[in-house]
Amino acid sequence: MGEIRLMKGNEALAEAMIRVGCDAYFGYPITPQSEVLEYLSEQDPMSRTGMVILQAESEVAAINMVHGAAGCGKRVITTSSSPGISLMQEGISYMAAAEIPCVIANVIRGGPGLGTIQPSQSDYFQAVKGGGHGDYKLIVLAPSTVQEMVNHVKQGFELAEKYRTPVMLLADGAIGQMMEKVELFPQIPRKKDSELPQEWATTGRGDRKLRNFITSLNIQPEKMEEINLHLQEKYRTIEANEVQYEANNLEGAEYIFTGFGMGARICNKAAELGRAKGYKIGVIRPITLYPFPVAIYNDVASKVKGIFDVEMNAGQMVEDVKLAVSGKTRVEFYGRMGGMIPSPEEILENFEKIFIK
């Protein structure tokens, strides 16, 4: 057993960064994730592990500091909330193209625009469909508990480094602000300079004859297409190997409730209430939003009367659910927007309105 603590999601996220052996954090304050940089500043990770933290002048600068530092082969992370993540998109596209591993956490607040500081899930499309320009994907992990905020930081770096790609943690303001019991993994030492990946990272040439360089630029379309094909091949490998989801009560289920992150937890409660009333309800929660767990939805589609998708947005993941079931079953959606969180009772009531009456 690791160390048990009661922590806010944002603080747990910050503590996990230090423990995973991060070399640097660059970020800019924005509600509802400002506790990340505050916690790091309080902890002084330089004295704990030698980890650098820096409050950048903007999210634009922060993501580009991440690119520079991660381009040296170091473990680097940034966090922000929706408007800040929008500002980072150019840099994220560059990193996806140049195959720079890093982790970015979005503690979503309600949009569009300056919106609200209350929790939301309205950045699903932005995270999952490639929020910046060009054909690229991020591996997207959706934590639903404070414990997963911790676990996903570790897993995020493992995936980022395995596939040389940016990974996004897609949380929301509620997970960031709430406190739960977490088990923390023991400190992982930071990489030594001798362990930095000499085949691509800009560490200084050292003994190499030829420089390493990192760019996403290729003027020749033939060459740029080749790079695109390479990226797409990588994404197919990720789709084949890295899908994660959680499912319960699928056996004999007539209906499936589905959602991600905080939405999935409320769905689970709604399903419990529904089962108590005699409905046969199973729940599917994608943990990786990309790669999306297509197969499990497709599998259950022919066995159930319908899938009820609940999100804190206007209906984003539901499009992927519909693609996954390819018309084999009825898919309906219920959502709240702008920082409103649906209650379990509200979900069940709407399920009954749509599917039962």
Partner: protein, 178 residues
């Protein structure tokens, strides 16, 4: 055992911290706990509230809309949350800030004057412990020892000298429940 409670009142009444102390205490007793604040501009002078769930089971949803217990420390909180108490549940309210008392008869209602008690003890800051005393006397979610352990976790080291006073306040709070 699962206890779903909301603490609601003015910002500055220690609403968020009384929830945190309860959550810490639950953790120290090996229970599953979740503390969910309302946050943002509400924290600055307006109303503030937090949900706490303490359970022997893993907590499915941190989002709840009905409560076993509502602790209302001002009139707006009472107005907002009285209707959301599960039948047979508990309502604790602070008499000094409430002019229109609750009307429901299918719940247990416990008026407290924690403000006065805290003033008698000479430290307004132990108000939250008086409230917690009343809460735990009625809803025996956590043992007194567990609560003291939770308080130690929740309080920064430099305030630990105040623990005896806090526990006195806690004991005084318990007296509101007959």
């Amino acid at each position: 055992m699962t206890e779903e409670v909301i603490f609601a009142g003015f910002g500055g009444q220690g609403v968020l911290s009384m929830g945190q102390i309860l959550a810490y205490a639950g953790m120290m007793e090996g229970k599953e706990v979740c503390w969910m604040p309302s946050y943002g501009p509400e924290m600055r002078g307006g109303t503030a509230n937090c949900n706490v769930i303490v359970s022997d089971e893993p907590i499915v949803s941190p989002i709840i809309s009905t409560y076993d217990t509502v602790v209302a420390l001002n009139q707006p909180s009472l107005d907002k949350f009285e209707s959301r108490i599960k039948p047979g549940g508990t309502l604790i309210y602070e008499t000094s800030t409430v002019t229109n008392p609750p009307t429901r008869t299918d719940i247990k209602v416990i008026p407290i004057s924690a403000n006065e008690t805290a003033l008698e003890l000479g430290n307004q800051k132990v108000f939250n412990m008086v409230v917690l005393g009343a809460f735990l006397a009625e809803r025996k979610t956590i043992s007194d020892e567990g609560l003291e352990k939770g308080l130690k976790q929740a309080l920064p080291e430099r305030h630990h000298k105040l623990i005896p006073l806090n526990m006195t306040a806690f004991a005084k709070g318990k007296e509101f429940v007959k």
